[in-house]
């Protein structure tokens, strides 16, 4: 069983503790042995950076001015990323949970236990009783290997990954509309667009370095239309802010399309020659004149008209979106409704005319292409397509019948653990206790497992539930490729050796497979060998990496896929001549407004939405341990508009209870005019009692199976107790209690 019994002692031993200086302290007398060019481990920008190495230790960072995407620029997470490598919380040997306590074990002991438990469970309950849950902060080599490991190593159908919580709706929408899933344009196209529509993307905090491109566009005289329920730094800096109710994106997008149609700002020639199904989308959009769209979304009709005119009259323009429109039970439709706008105006497929999701995770793009997704095989192939199955079976040297069927999505996977169908779990590169919606249900799922293995380099909130924790490596201790949000395959270089007994994740997976008796499929001696097999496995698929080599990546500062041949330089811009559907055309979709699965009512009158802050990365397993980042924002808060705060008699800084049908939490109120009065917001990077996901709704989009993080119903409750002081150190409460122990 996988319960957490001694939380206090686990935190005491494994953190999160704060660590805030390079190994050996700050020093003016460093003798740097080498400077290793690599990339940031965090978001989908994958900024170039140089790591300073002294005696096999990463001791600092130096801007990498010659990498074209960021030209030296870094966000605070990037600047401090190196501090995680020698962090005192690092796991440096395998751990087994005995009587509720983690005890040091040898690798053999840990691996033997894993294999005997996995074999036992599979004999008793069948192959599919073990699930693999992975992530997209791994290199593409590792994500490919995880997919192969689940299907061939453990022979289970159940594998999925945290990209499901990221941009899955964008992937769903892009595949439906374009027949392929990748940002259509390189970021270098942004400065050439007269108008940008930025929907549900708080670029300033979530993709700080993208702002360099945005401001170049601004310097060129460009305009930003920002669609967001909050006045984020990006919305504040923009020219026009459409501050919609969370969950009403379709109304706004259809409203804009409606104005484009009625004011004849569409590109009929483009529609006729390069798209299908326009009439249906047009008919649907005609039901959303600006006053109807305004009524649903709360955005004044004039602003919708103004946005449509700005975008429609401009020669060039780009639409970019992120999790804000994607994290909905109708996320795919939200995405399609924006794609309709780009297609109707022909603003796609050339310089400054484009569209794209801004992928969040470091390898969110590469990690979704090569088979760690439930229904997917390498190269964006489908588990359900007989031709695709045949090709991959051939590459892997097995009979097609040995390949398991499609599994289920992340949230469904954890439901199956709760329902008892899945008995064992191997998770890697994921912190579900923070990142999955409805935390209380996730805890139940983990506690119900018969055997739970976690590979990580820190003891995450989720690793605490594991029976065995195996120490993995940080990005600075291994090499491999990632694919950034613009589709650029780049190379992560190894700076130092793994500390202690920590092992490269790809070695660990292979070793488990070998001990499961499946070693012949896992004979890789280096990431390069994995990449070479991946190149072949992806060949002829939509995400074709066959022509990409480590050398080409170095030479060209990255390679945009598809890159099918050795001669090819890659494809920075898609759709210049044709879309990826068989007939070469893009598809419009008729989209009707549905709204969130759970709308406010008398009992829960507010709309709850969640998101990110600039100082933390995803589930915070890496960033909540770095002193500088934690000091900027030690704990989550709930943003409340002053009007709403007045109604509930809540003061700024006071702790309040936020309650939904699924759970509740106590958070300090940040009373700000930058949010809608009908909406409250909590950043999600924390776990346990600070998890915003205690509140969220696990309703899924039918296509993408993305959960609805961005809209559910909630209410506020004033706390009538003096036990929770308003200001001062103690106010910072549980999270800082945890982290301050390290100071």
């Amino acid at each position: 069983m996988s319960k957490v019994e001694n939380l206090a002692s686990i935190i005491d031993r494994f953190g999160p503790h704060l660590h805030d200086e390079p190994i050996g302290g700050w020093s003016a007398e460093r003798k740097v042995d080498k400077m290793v060019p690599t990339h940031c481990p965090y978001c989908g920008m994958q900024c170039g950076m140089n790591l300073l190495v002294e005696k096999n230790h990463v001791v600092g960072v130096e801007p990498r001015y010659d990498f074209p995407v960021n030209e030296g620029r870094l966000c605070p997470k990037g600047v401090t990323a190196y501090l995680q490598t020698h962090h005192p919380d690092r796991l440096e040997y395998p751990l087994l949970k005995r009587n509720g306590n983690f005890e040091r074990a040898s690798w053999d002991e840990a691996l033997d236990l894993i294999v005997s438990k996995f074999k036992g469970l599979q004999e008793k309950y069948g192959k599919d009783s073990i699930a693999v849950y992975s992530g997209s902060s791994l290199t593409t080599e590792k994500t490919y290997l995880v997919g192969k490991f689940a299907r061939l190593g453990l022979q289970t159908r159940y594998i999925d990954y945290n990209g499901r919580l990221c941009m899955a709706s964008a992937a769903g929408g892009n595949n439906k509309a374009f027949g392929i899933d990748r940002a259509a344009n390189p970021w270098s196209d942004i400065p050439h667009a007269e108008v940008l529509i930025i929907a549900g993307a708080n670029c300033a905090e979530t993709f700080p370095i993208l702002n360099g491109f945005l401001w170049k566009q601004r310097d060129n005289g460009g305009v930003w239309i920002v669609i967001d329920p909050r006045e984020t730094p990006t919305a504040r800096q923009g020219d026009l802010h459409l501050q919609l109710k969370p969950g009403t994106d379709v109304a706004v997008a259809n409203g804009i399309l409606n104005v484009l149609i009625t004011e004849n700002l569409i590109d009929q020639a483009f529609i006729d020659s390069r798209t299908n199904d326009w009439e249906a989308a047009k008919t649907a959009a005609l039901n959303y004149p600006p006053d109807v769209a305004a009524e649903i979304s709360g955005v004044p009709a004039e602003k919708i008209i103004q946005a449509a005119r700005l975008y429609g009259r401009a020669k060039t323009g780009m639409i970019m979106h992120a999790r804000g429109i994607e994290h909905h039970s109708n996320g795919t439709e939200n995405v399609l409704s924006y794609i309709n706008i780009a297609l109707a105006t022909g603003k796609i497929g050339s310089e400054g005319r484009g569209y794209g999701t801004i992928t969040g995770q470091g390898n969110g793009q590469g990690g979704r292409e090569h088979g760690q997704k439930a229904d997917q095989l390498p190269g964006y192939r489908s588990m359900l397509n007989p031709e695709h199955r045949k090709y991959i079976a051939e590459v892997w040297g097995i009979d097609e019948s040995e390949l398991p069927g499609a599994g289920v999505s992340a949230v469904e996977l954890f439901n199956k653990m709760r329902e008892g169908e899945i008995k064992g779990l191997l998770s890697i590169c994921s912190n579900m206790m923070v990142s999955l919606p409805d935390t209380n249900k996730v805890r139940e799922s983990l506690e119900g497992l018969e055997f739970n293995v976690c590979i990580d380099f820190f003891m995450s909130e989720s690793a605490r539930y594991a029976d065995v924790v195996l120490p993995g490596t940080t990005w600075s201790e291994d090499e491999g490729t990632t694919t950034s949000g613009e589709g650029r395959v780049i190379k992560i270089n190894q700076a130092i050796d793994p500390p202690g007994e920590a092992r490269h994740d790809w070695r660990t997976l292979q070793e488990i497979a070998r001990r499961m008796g499946r070693g012949k499929y896992f004979q890789f001696e280096s990431p390069r060998e994995i990449f070479d097999e991946l190149r072949v496995a992806s060949k002829g698929g939509k995400a074709d990496y066959f022509g990409i080599t480590y050398e080409k990546i170095d030479k060209q500062d990255g390679v945009f896929w598809p890159c099918p041949t050795e001669e090819s330089k890659g494809t920075p811009r898609l759709f210049e001549e044709r879309f990826a559907h068989d007939d070469g055309k893009a598809k419009f979709h008729a989209i009707e407004y549905k709204g969130a699965a759970e709308k406010p009512d008398e009992e829960y009158p507010l709309i709850f939405t969640s998101g990110r802050i600039v100082h933390q990365y995803l589930s915070g397993n890496q960033t909540r341990r770095i002193g500088f980042l934690v000091q900027q924002c030690p704990e989550p808060f709930v943003e409340i508009h002053p009007e709403t705060a007045m109604k509930y008699k809540i003061n700024d800084g006071e702790r309040v209870k936020v309650i939904s049908r699924r759970g509740e939490g106590i958070f300090p109120a940040l009373v700000v005019k930058t949010i809608r009065p009908d909406t409250i917001f909590i950043p999600y990077h924390w776990g346990e009692e600070l998890a915003a996901n205690q509140i969220t709704n696990a309703a899924l989009d039918p296509t993408s199976k993305i959960p609805e993080y961005k809209a559910c119903a909630a209410r506020l409750e004033k706390i009538h107790t003096r036990e929770l002081p308003i200001l001062g150190e103690v106010r910072k409460g549980t999270s800082l209690n945890e982290v301050q122990k390290g100071k």
Binding site: W26, C75, P233
Partner: protein, 216 residues
């Protein structure tokens, strides 16, 4: 050196990357010489970075009894020379921009010297290297100004004191100077008539705790 710093507050996203990067300069021993403030978080997400403005006639040097603060030939105002610094903190109290800080552990005034150790080797200062948006930029007038739609201003008026600086603020095109008339009501202060009190958002206090002190 023809390069200088340009501060473009409208671009600041409050990420404090500059603060983190400033710490990385080996000579600072982990202290940052840059401060980023929320303007008023309850009203807006706007933030503003503060670096040394490198005055043509630096007040900090004028009030230094030990002549410990030197200006180099490029007009960069250096940190106090350790052997001369008397720990008197005149500079800390006199700077109209509130830039120098006193490091009680090291018995030394510390301030931004425009990354002298980097710029003297042809490298950009850390803050301007990493700044995601160009809110802090380092370059020549010709490299930076023609690209922007804002106007470089280096005249500051603090009540009766006028200051010209090596560092430029990028402001709306109708601005000629930055003026603080001394009669405004600031956050957390009570106005002269005692009527108007403006409370600061708790998150401002929390994040800027260290920035608001004159000491490290």
């Amino acid at each position: 050196m023809n390069e200088t710093m340009f501060i473009d507050p409208q671009r600041c996203i409050g990420c404090r990357s500059c603060v983190a990067a400033c710490r990385e300069c080996s000579t600072h021993k982990g202290y940052s010489m840059i401060f980023v403030d929320y303007i008023d978080r309850s009203e807006t997400t706007a933030t503003m970075p503060t670096i040394c403005m490198h005055c043509e006639e630096p007040t900090c040097a004028l009030v230094c009894p030990a002549d410990a603060i030197k200006q180099n030939e490029d007009g960069v105002v250096m940190s106090a020379l350790k052997p001369r610094c008397l720990d008197c903190r005149n500079c800390v109290n006199a700077c109209p921009f509130g830039v120098p800080k006193y490091n009680s552990a090291m018995h030394l005034q510390m301030k931004c010297d425009m990354c002298y150790d980097r710029t003297s080797e042809g490298l950009k200062p850390m803050c301007a290297s990493v700044c995601p948006t160009g809110a802090l930029s380092f370059g020549t007038f010709e490299q930076i100004v023609p690209l922007r739609r804002t106007k470089p201003v280096n005249a500051h008026v603090f009540g009766n004191q006028s200051v010209k600086t090596k560092v430029y603020m990028m402001l709306p095109t109708d601005a000629d100077e930055v003026s603080v008339d001394g009669c405004g009501v600031f956050e957390g202060q009570i106005s002269l008539d005692g009527a108007h009190v403006k409370e600061e958002s708790w998150i401002d206090t929390q994040v800027e705790d260290s920035d608001k002190s004159n000491e490290f």
